[in-house]
Symmetry: C2
DNA sequence: ACAGAATATGAGCGATCATTCGCTTTCGAT
DNA sequence: ATCGAAAGCGAATGATCGCTCATATTCTGT
């Protein structure tokens, strides 16, 4: 197993000990990002918080960027796990139900480790490897556009592309801001109110 | 004039030459932010692009943060100059007209040096002096809330606070994304279409 | 023409950062 | 018990950064 030259290989973990190291590094990175922000997340500090040495970090991650990218991926996967099942249901429901469920899903997505979500959204530079954040958003857009196409006859929209843009942007911004900038709004009661309002906003727009 | 000890004073520019230096520094900072991003904007590089020495930079700005803060202020003032007159008109107009004008204003605001706006919105760390960005947004929110209060009877809204949040967030996100992430949409024709859609979205929501 | 204030200079300081590499320790297979 | 591979270590490197200061140049009032 692992036939690569041992001097270079920045490679995968085969023993359990090393898997624990990788895990500790990813977790430490996330914790530092949340508690101290992106620019305090130096590789030396990450290794220190993870309880390993910098050298070990570079055994498994070719760069700091790669490590942050893994943190992003893990966060997106956690969101997807919370959401994938519900997302399938949406596609076969009528507009009003679908939008309401979509808003609820978006809200729940933003409540998975909100502080990490905020740092990723606001502080991570979108260069090189770290553009995955943009890609993730484009996926949502495509899914929504597909839904609108298959329910075209129930809607009063001229330009599907434009309508998708309006809806996705609004829902994303509302849920993002509600969770990350107005966390007082998080009482379950007010949260239901927000779902009502966002649903009314979007369905009203789609059904004329 | 200027009685401070000459060893410390990090002070104002009284001669024309120094005013030009300050201007060159601010402009160079903006240009670097746009063309190379926030983390390439080192003080040495800023001074180099401005055609002055680092020392001169620190004669007029106590820190890099202060310099960036001035760039932010200047950008916000440029936006306000483009917008202030129109904003006054909005307050005395009926809902539909008002919203349409507000959307158009927001759009125009985002088209004042859009690339700089994007960098300021997405790359500048919101710490210390640089929180002005948040304050600016809170102002918009307050203005809108005031408008809704004075037109309460024309509206079908329960919670004014919540409605303001929904409207401001949506308009801001739509105009921001349209200008900064979908610049293909900028053809004047599609731009009018976006104003139509955003207006329909928000007025539909407010008037039930 | 001269003095002192204002302005400009840029080498360099100390801190911090991402990354490397020679070395040691632990593991798994025999 | 042994040995090679895997995992771990951390001082050291070189780059870059924000910022200072001793010095030089230019301006302004007289």
């Amino acid at each position: 197993m692992a036939r690569r030259p041992p001097t270079k290989p920045r490679k995968f973990a085969s023993q359990e000990r090393s898997r624990a190291t990788v895990d500790a590094l990813v977790e430490a990175t996330a914790r530092i990002l949340v508690k101290e922000g992106f620019d305090k997340a130096s590789t030396n500090r990450i290794a220190e918080v993870a309880g390993v040495s910098v050298g070990s970090l570079y055994q498994y991650f070719p760069s700091k960027e790669a490590l942050v990218a893994v943190v992003i991926e893990r966060h997106q996967q956690e969101i997807m796990q919370t959401v994938r099942g519900e997302l399938a249901e949406v596609l076969v429901q009528p507009v009003e139900k679908a939008i309401r469920k979509l808003v609820a899903i978006a809200l729940r997505a933003h409540r998975v480790d909100p502080k990490l979500h905020r740092v990723l959204a606001e502080q991570i530079p979108r260069v090189g490897e770290l553009e995955k954040l943009e890609t993730f958003n484009r996926d949502n857009y495509t899914i929504f556009r597909t839904y609108l196409e298959s329910h075209r006859d129930e809607l009063r929209v001229g330009d599907l592309e434009l309508a998708s843009f309006v809806c996705v942007t609004s829902i994303e911004a509302l849920t993002h801001n509600a969770v990350l900038h107005h966390s007082k709004m998080i009482s379950d009661e007010r949260l239901e109110a927000l779902i009502d309002e966002a649903t009314r906003l979007v369905t009203g727009y789609l059904k004329g």
